[in-house]
Subunit: 342 residues, 2 copies
């Protein structure tokens, strides 16, 4: 029961849903002991499962973002892109989504229509169909507006085998573009901070780009989208799962200047902020040029670059070479800085 | 946009999630126009979808039942059984589930552990694995305790083709057991009504029983579990989708006497109450004896019986021959009597 054992008589805290250490404790202390099976134990963004005759990927996420509408998207677009991206990060081609709505009594129908139309637009772009759904309405106050769950099914792309167990010292770490935009777009709204119109959520379906990358380089070791907890948390998870060290270069990690400025004002570190249209790729260095060419030719990867390397040690740790040349530990956060970011 | 068009400027009501007419308006007025595709348009409990080499069923449901723990189950058991049953009602053998949790800050960890342990017990009984999941924690007041979404994948059983389009006049309608138990177990708790211990929710996974039935009689026309809205609503949906009449016999519909008594006290009609471990079968009369023998030999079908017939007319309507011999219209409810019953 791990760390949760100590708190069997305790209560769930916001941080248990943050993507940080406490989230990890909740999953390993409560969920895994109950549900343990080979597919779940991998703790990837989705499960790879076998059905007679086909290798599938299967994933789910609930979306509770606040506010519901923001620059660059809304909860509906997020719910489709997030699940599409989780499938893509498993090396799968997404085919079908489900959509489960929990709606508060009194919610404006016009807002619901905007949300479902955004879902369909994102689904069309991603080439997936929303084939099954469910709607529950709860009394006023029993939910905050609307929450959406999506689950998704994809076909694992032949010849791929994405897994942290395939991460090796010497591999390059590629980031597909600037970090922090999604979280800053949300947080600016919450804090009444007026940002330039150039700051929008990066929310986007990455499956088309992933398919191109995996067609060219099927033996990519890991794909991961740095959502809750941001780049730093995602790198820590991979370093721990693969028992390798990671060293990234601060100078190589793009951050839009307006996003960096907003982070200064709001007191956030962009490396820990959620993204909804970015990915990290771990691959052999000889493949990097090919991957970068594909990324830079795609609208969702124009600013891609190599941000660091996998190292031998210290295993499980992520180092950041700062702009002034020192190396600091990029730790796993105990809790995300920002609840309800997705 | 159908009936929802008139209310674009309006607000979601509890009844939009009830399983009754307003739910139907929400689905046909908002969801279908946005998401329309062949699988979704069938409006079955789950979607049948094709992946290269395999015919799958895919379904989702969110569970918001209140209270969370009740005689015969809890929200976790319900979340597994409900989705397993939706797959079974598509003529599929359930294999994998996802689980998405939305938890209120301050929720007792001990309760969460009870819930996930019940989920695993139900999954074990049903022979399914919970292979992927997600947990969101929202601030106090932003959700009422815990809501759970499950999605499920199953393999469509060879030779079956469950569809309301296969319903024909002359077919028998079989019900697998007494109705109303789940809703009465919940409502008694809400109203502080102390019932005999024999009144428990019927919450159970029906996939094992369904597999036996479909192995013996693959050409069953329709399977459906009468959940939200109860037997009456489910029969109305089938009558409308198949454009047939339905006549059921009140004397043939089993209701546990303690449930009937509780309904009298609470003012409910058991034919409109949610069940979580019952099913209705539409089949050719020559198969009925075989189906009933299998049902009666299974722990979840002991009190099964033929409750009525499909008729030519009036199309889309359900008649009930009452105990005193008259026939009354069993109408589709505008709203369920009971919000948050599942």
């Amino acid at each position: 029961m791990n760390n949760m054992n100590d708190i069997n008589d305790k209560r769930i805290r916001l941080a248990h849903g943050s993507g940080g250490k406490l989230s990890h404790d909740l999953v390993t202390g409560v969920m895994l002991p109950a549900f343990a099976n080979a597919a779940l134990n991998e703790l990837h963004d989705g499960a790879r499962i076998n059905m007679p005759g086909v290798k599938l990927a299967f994933t789910t996420d609930s979306y509770v973002v606040k506010p519901l509408f923001f620059a660059g998207g809304n909860i509906g677009k997020l719910a489709v892109c997030g699940t599409v991206n989780d499938l893509a990060m498993c090396g799968a081609d997404p085919h079908y989504l489900s959509a489960g709505f929990i709606i508060e009594e009194g919610f404006p129908v016009a807002d619901l229509i905007r949300i479902v139309e955004s879902m369909q637009a994102a689904a069309s772009e991603a080439g997936v169909a929303i084939v099954t759904g469910d709607t529950k309405v709860v009394e006023k106050g029993a939910v905050d507006g609307i929450y959406i769950n999506t689950a998704g099914i994809g076909a694992v792309i032949d010849g791929t085998g994405i897994s942290p167990t395939r991460v090796r010292p010497g591999q390059d770490i590629i980031l597909s573009g600037p970090v922090g935009n999604h979280a800053v777009a949300i947080m600016a709204l919450r804090h009444g901070l007026v940002l330039p119109q150039t700051v929008t959520s990066d929310c986007a379906p990455l499956n088309g780009l992933v398919k191109e990358l995996l067609s060219a380089v099927p033996d990519v070791a890991v794909l991961r989208d740095p959502t809750r907890g941001g780049l730093a948390t995602t790198l820590n998870e991979i370093a721990q799962q693969a028992a390798v060290g990671i060293l990234v270069e601060e100078a190589a990690i793009p951050v839009q200047p307006e996003v960096a400025a907003a982070c200064d004002i709001l007191g956030f570190d962009p490396l820990y902020l959620a993204n909804e249209g970015k990915m990290i790729i771990f691959s052999q260095p000889q493949a990097s040029e090919r991957l970068l060419a594909i990324l830079k030719g795609h609208k969702y990867g124009k600013e891609a670059g190599i941000i660091g390397k996998v190292t031998d040690s210290p295993a499980g740790q992520v180092g950041l070479r700062t702009l002034i040349g020192g190396i600091r530990l990029l730790d796993m956060p105990v809790a995300d800085q920002l609840p309800r970011i997705c």
